[in-house]
Amino acid sequence: MDWEPATADDQVAGVPARFVAAPASTAEAAEVLRAAAAQDLAVVVRGGGTKLDWGMPPRRLDLIVDTHRLTGVVEHAAGDLITVVRAGTPLSELDFGSQQLALDSPLPGATIGGSVAANVSGPRRMLYGTARDLLIGITVVRPDGTVARSGGKVVKNVAGYDLGKLFTGSHGTLGLITECAFRLHPVPPARAVVTRTVPAAGVGALLTAVREEQVVPSAVEVDRPPGGEVTVAVLVEGTAEGVRDRAARLEKVLGGHSGDLPSWWGAYPWQPGGTGLKLTAALSKVPDLVGAAAETGIRGSAGTGVLYASVASSEDAPRLVERLRAEAVRAGGHAVVLTAPAEVREAVDVWGPVPGLELMRRVKDQFDPGHHFAPGRFVGGI
């Protein structure tokens, strides 16, 4: 298949590429990667291009493998509640009728492959889990061009290693994802959102009250603008009768009211080109983290302990990243700078401390011994 010379737009976090190839099938992708390996080319995979500035810039870059031709739903077995989708398919284009792939996408235009590779998630991860939980099978092309599959098309399956989990969140450092099989969920007929805005000191009590009420929320989100009060928003989904009852109970417990999804729902709190962090915490420490984030503001899944913060000014970024990281670690979690302008990326530790790094390096060395794939983009310089 043909490769194209790169244009000025074909760069990754400021590093220009020399070529772009857009395979339309797993076989074509294998051909491209065999050739790239033979010529010792450094490769970065590009889907919708919504997260190309995540992670560190590649140490070197020759070839962008673009997945925009690797699209479409290969199979939707409605009776079995599964689908097989090509990696370049935008999440927003998936339509399974009365069923859904329950993976929220915070970035419009993101593809399946990119969302899996970067392990993005949104509010409803609380009920449905994340990409790793929904993915039941994966087809990848290794950096040497070898095509490999793991899992399958049935939800229940323990045959062999689960490479899908390994590739989820691997940020394109282990190979190219070409197809994903997912379990689907029915689209619930009804939903309701109950919100309440309180001073930061009152968040802990509200979250505890929601947790103790047996209403099984699909999402428990918080949003705190810089210096502001905290809005808690709880989503319930189900039958019309069930949702009515659950929402009424939540209104009582929260002292809040039912309404539409808030405008900030499921969106990252930073602007394009800004500095954005992902902060995690043990559930009981979420209120502490929210309380500590007065200066930057914070938003995200209080129901699972996965939150996001934005740092507006590049000058303040090193100090604020340091402080938020200290708070996240105190809360039993981590802080990762997902996206940042070049000057911030150079000034901070993007990934922070990572346990098990030695084993991770060994995994990378096995899958990509020549370090051709997204070199330097991931944790510990992987």
């Binding site: 994340t130 229940k156 323990v158 390994l166 019309a240 990762v336």
Partner: protein, 483 residues
């Protein structure tokens, strides 16, 4: 001294004599797991009391170049914990402490030998439970569950062990203690925990496990529906799924399985039924009430001959007793049996059941079917009399043919029992050489010497440390040369 004797001496010196078993008779009590027709007496058994002792045991094995196999409660059904005659069996039975139960974090931290059901018992006073519930949950260990990625009747709605394990401290096959995952979700870096869960002891040994606790459902309602045929029960299952209901469980048993369960535990299922379904819904009371009415109507519309609704916990337990004791129960109607575990797309259920029936009668063998109908996980029980000439072989053929059917219909050779020793030979039917080689790259990263549970999962071990094939310039297409 042989190398094993030297190793035994080193381990006694390091850990204390009471941790090491080398008496021949005692060793034989560990010769198999729940799949009793594979038997190997281990060279040595070690019972570490904590992570440090477990790590030391592995380090000594590595130094001596001796393979090691981890074992929890020994309830596995694929020979995953089958020992090595020249190796060490590391038994986690003495590591049974629940280290922490934190309802506020919805987490529990346990040692690997802790019994599955004990986690739920410890959590339930706080209003929480541990969701994965394999049928052996009264005796199986969390460490074994992690190794096998165990499922259970309720994983249709709640997922498997891998969806409920947030962190683990493991002993790597090098003998190092490493933390994977943690108390908070989405630890940065590769999801090595996700790769570790379900790796059947080939990537190391879990010494401490952090699990998710799930809030107890407000309401649980259970329905027992009898049907004339498995086809009708299958149609009812399809209708429930098509209606957008995700029950906590949908279990099916056929006439022969019902007969066995009646004989064993007198569960009082409707007499003469060709199939029964157990459908359980749980969640907020108003939600369960609405969906339960829907499920009941769908069972009736699909020809249910009798519907029973559990009036209380005691009756619910009775419904489940027949199902959960089904494997052992067939012992009442057959001297020997093979428990098979395969998966098919749920919609293929009626067709595959007919084909299983055809294969069985062609071989003159009876098959009782018990399965998780909601997710297409079949547990056919192939009945035979080992004393009768050729019956064991015929049963083995039928069992293998069922696995072939699962592959033919796009399913899996195992839904929850694991590959272990028993199914390594089927792996090449489901996966290509490249698939299996790629999986073993992970193995090589964790265990380059191949000492952790060797011979399991993969029929052909890959030698690690091979120099990757260098591609010649001639492999490159002309197009790539232009720019």
């Amino acid at each position: 001294m042989t190398s094993l004797e030297e190793l035994a001496a080193a381990l006694r010196a390091a850990l204390g004599a009471d941790r090491v078993v080398s008496d021949r008779l005692e060793l034989r009590t560990y010769e198999c797991d729940g799949l009793a027709h594979y038997k190997v007496t281990p060279g040595l058994v070690v019972l570490p009391r904590d992570a440090a002792e477990c790590a030391r045991t592995v380090s000594e094995c590595v130094a001596a170049g001796v393979p090691f196999v981890a074992r929890g409660s020994g309830t596995g059904l694929s020979g995953g914990a089958l020992p090595h005659a020249d190796g060490v069996l590391i038994v986690t039975a003495k590591m049974r402490d629940i280290l922490e139960v934190s309802p506020a974090d919805e987490r529990a931290v346990v040692q690997p030998g802790v019994i599955n059901l004990q986690v739920t018992r410890a959590a339930s006073p706080h209003g929480y439970y541990y969701a994965p519930d394999p049928s052996s949950q009264q005796i199986c260990s969390i460490g074994g569950n992690v190794a096998e990625n165990s499922g259970g009747a309720h994983c249709l709605k709640y997922g498997f062990t891998t969806n409920h394990v947030l962190g683990a401290e493991i002993v790597t096959p090098d003998g190092d203690l490493v933390e994977l995952g943690g108390r908070a979700p989405d630890t940065p870096g590769y999801d090595l925990l996700g790769a570790f869960v379900g790796s059947e002891g080939t990537l190391g040994i879990a010494t401490r496990v952090t699990v998710r606790l799930t809030r107890l459902p407000e309401s649980v309602r259970t329905l027992l529906a009898a049907f004339a045929t498995t086809d009708a029960a299958g149609a009812a299952t399809s209708a429930i799924i098509a209606a957008g209901v995700v029950p906590a469980a949908i279990e099916m048993m056929d006439a022969l399985a019902i007969e066995a369960a009646e004989a064993a535990v007198a569960c009082g299922y409707p007499p003469g039924a060709g199939a029964v379904l157990i459908v359980e819904l749980d969640g907020p009371a108003a939600e369960v009430a609405a969906q339960f009415a829907q499920v009941t109507a769908l069972c009736e519309a699909n020809g249910a001959t009798e519907l029973r609704i559990a009036a209380d916990d005691a009756e619910r337990a009775l419904f489940w007793k027949g199902r959960k004791s089904a494997f052992a129960a067939v012992g009442r109607i057959s001297p020997d049996y093979i428990v098979q575990d395969g998966v098919i797309p749920r919609t293929a259920l009626p067709e595959v059941l007919h084909r299983i029936g055809e294969v069985a009668s062609a071989h003159g063998v009876r098959v009782a079917n018990v399965f998780h109908a909601g997710d297409g996980n079949l547990h056919p029980l192939v009945l035979f009399d080992g004393a009768a000439d050729g019956e064991a072989e015929r049963a083995e053929e039928v069992s293998g043919a069922i696995i072939d059917l699962c592959i033919e219909y796009g399913g899996s050779i195992t839904g929850e029992h694991g590959v272990g020793t028993d199914k390594a030979k089927y792996m090449p039917r489901m996966f290509s050489d490249d698939d299996l080689t790629t999986m073993q790259l992970l193995r090589c990263a964790f265990d380059p010497a191949g000492l952790a549970n060797p011979g399991k999962i993969f029929p052909t071990p890959r030698l690690c440390g091979e120099v990757p094939r260098r591609h010649s310039a001639a492999d490159a297409p002309a197009g790539a040369e232009i720019f």
